[in-house]
Symmetry: C2
């Protein structure tokens, strides 16, 4: 049976070559090797070295492997917030990070705008007592995106001690962050890296590490096996505290190597081209319209449209075309569709999708 192309916002279409990499991993029995072996350490180092190169990550940043972005939220609060975090909220995932801070007993405050809207950064007063500022570069639930230039303004807006955390779960490696203007960013491999789910990646600088050590020195609990110091100690010898998702770390290294060969410039250019094609279609469609009104706040990697036809019927129409789009998130399940524009999606994929959605317009 012909399988569809997945435009779902993650898990999504796998990056080209992933199936072959899995076959190679099986042939080499990577599912059986010890996570303390030199062979594993080399696999780990390959993924980390490749990511450092792809993202041009400064030397003061470390890369940590966790099990999901949900886990990064929890570990971030546990390890870097003694009392208070501050959250820019414009969708379900930024709201969830806010909630998690409260569930962990911290005082969390938020600046909230309606779903589908971006932020007028000049309007936002950052509490001087906030220890962590949670920004969401790409809100996967609404398709709203913060321009990177806006993110970079928060270093000046926040107190000097505050740590600036950026949710880029469904956009890395696209956003060109100035890593001196933020302190941490994180993503999941089942989004733009086109991998099976089960791995979250946390980029963080020495300021986050120092904060975790400070809380520990104060006698506060910062968790256990996945505290920053515990993760870091193992990371420095290319390992994890627990037995990790070895296969996904291997696959991440392979995909990152392929991305480095292709070049991030080209990946970004293609992302912009595909996004332009999609938004241009949505703006003229009879059935669909961009869910985010203001063009400057529209995500280029997770493109969300309101739909007159229920989302389930859109997918029924697309099924014989062998394509799937994501339904809307939460209460927008049937009133919106979500279209992933990830590096695994080729220009031809996107043109074919637009052609099919256009046919739906005419049907």
């Amino acid at each position: 049976m012909a399988q569809p192309v997945y435009f779902t916002p993650g898990p999504s279409e796998l990056y080209p070559g992933v199936e072959e990499h899995i076959q190679a991993a099986m042939a080499a029995k990577l599912g059986s090797i010890s996570h303390r072996s030199q062979q594993f350490k080399s696999i780990y180092a390959h993924a980390v070295t490749g990511l450092r190169k792809l993202l041009a990550l400064p030397e003061n940043y470390q890369i940590l492997f966790l099990s999901s972005a949900n886990e990064v939220w929890e570990r971030a609060i546990q390890n870097t917030v003694e009392r208070e975090s501050f959250h820019l909220v414009n969708g379900a995932f930024s709201e969830r990070f806010f909630e998690i801070s409260g569930e962990l007993g911290r005082s969390a405050t938020k600046y909230k705008v309606p779903d589908g809207e971006g932020f007028d950064v000049a309007q936002i007063n950052v509490p001087t007592t906030a220890e962590l500022i949670a920004l969401t570069q790409n809100e996967t639930s609404t398709g709203a995106s913060m321009p990177v230039a806006d993110i970079h303004l928060f270093r000046e807006k926040a107190s000097p001690e505050a740590l600036i955390f950026v949710d880029a779960v469904s956009s890395v490696p696209f956003p060109a962050f100035d890593y001196t203007k933020i302190d941490a960013a994180y993503f999941s491999v089942q989004k733009c890296f086109g991998l099976p789910a089960g791995l979250g990646v946390w980029l963080l600088n020495e300021r986050c590490i120092q904060k975790a050590e400070l809380l520990l020195q104060k006698g506060l609990s910062i968790g256990s096996y996945h505290s920053i110091p515990s993760l870091l100690k193992k990371a420095l010898s290319n390992q994890t505290p627990e037995t990790p998702n070895v296969l996904n770390i291997y696959l991440l290294g392979q995909v990152v190597e392929a991305m480095n060969q292709k070049g991030l410039d080209l990946i970004r250019q293609e992302t912009e081209l595909k996004a332009r094609l999609l938004y241009t279609f949505l703006e003229t469609s009879k059935t669909f319209a961009p869910a985010v009104k203001e063009a400057a706040h529209r995500s280029l990697t997770t493109i969300i449209a309101t739909t007159h036809l229920p989302a389930s019927e859109v997918n029924n129409f697309l099924a014989p075309h062998h394509m799937v789009v994501g339904s809307g998130y939460g209460q927008n399940k049937e009133t919106q569709i979500r279209i992933a524009n990830f590096p695994a999606h080729t220009v031809d994929h996107v043109k074919a999708l637009i052609s099919s959605l256009h046919a739906l317009d005419l049907a």
Copy 2:
């Protein structure tokens, strides 16, 4: 290149058919499906239903998917211990569970015997104030095992409110627990289920769930996305709070189905036969000897031997025979070898290993 048979104590040899199941998963594009889709819910239900059948799990037990056994330790303490846990310690992993309780700010006490020894249960006084009693059915670091009958004695020894947690990370589905005598057990899929690593499985009854709810009602933090109530709410609709390791949940369902077809009785008989062959050899070997002196306390699934020849040299000798054993744990890295006796290891595998180790004896 011919790949070795992995007798390492996990990750280890993959269960027969896993490679084909991965190929089938790739052909069906299971790496791309949504973790909120009906297709995923069916995969989840298949794994859970199969596990319930394999383990003859009573209806008052729930099955939760976490990322590792390390995570189960942390979630167990967070969710079911307000003040105090009590740990039977006879190796690195039982010690680590003890440490984690302290790192999470609880008062942890332990009853410790030297590595390689079992417990004389009659000697152990369980503190009446302990809320969680941590038993280790199979200590993967030392090869010591608690007889199931000894585990079952703790219900009477502990206070009625205490929860009895059993680490069976590297032994499930072998131990025939009376689930009315314990409250939770947990394992990792890269051990006896012969899967790639990246998934911990937690079996727990309503008493654990009620304790978590009680702590929450008291205003205590029990974590966030992976608190028991959060996990349970999603589990009841065959989902997880985060995007999980979908591929491993699928593979677990397939392996469990194969184990159900084979029958747990036969798996247990083969485990006992292979263990008998291995221990009989070790007892007569010139190079090796069972690390656990008392036969009643020897693990049947992770068999550990002291070795006169450094473990690395044992593996050098085995390499041309296409076999790998585990090195000793921690400070025993070179002075012990660890031999996994998991369902993926056939009687013929074990006979061939013994034949090679016997040749080493004669060399």
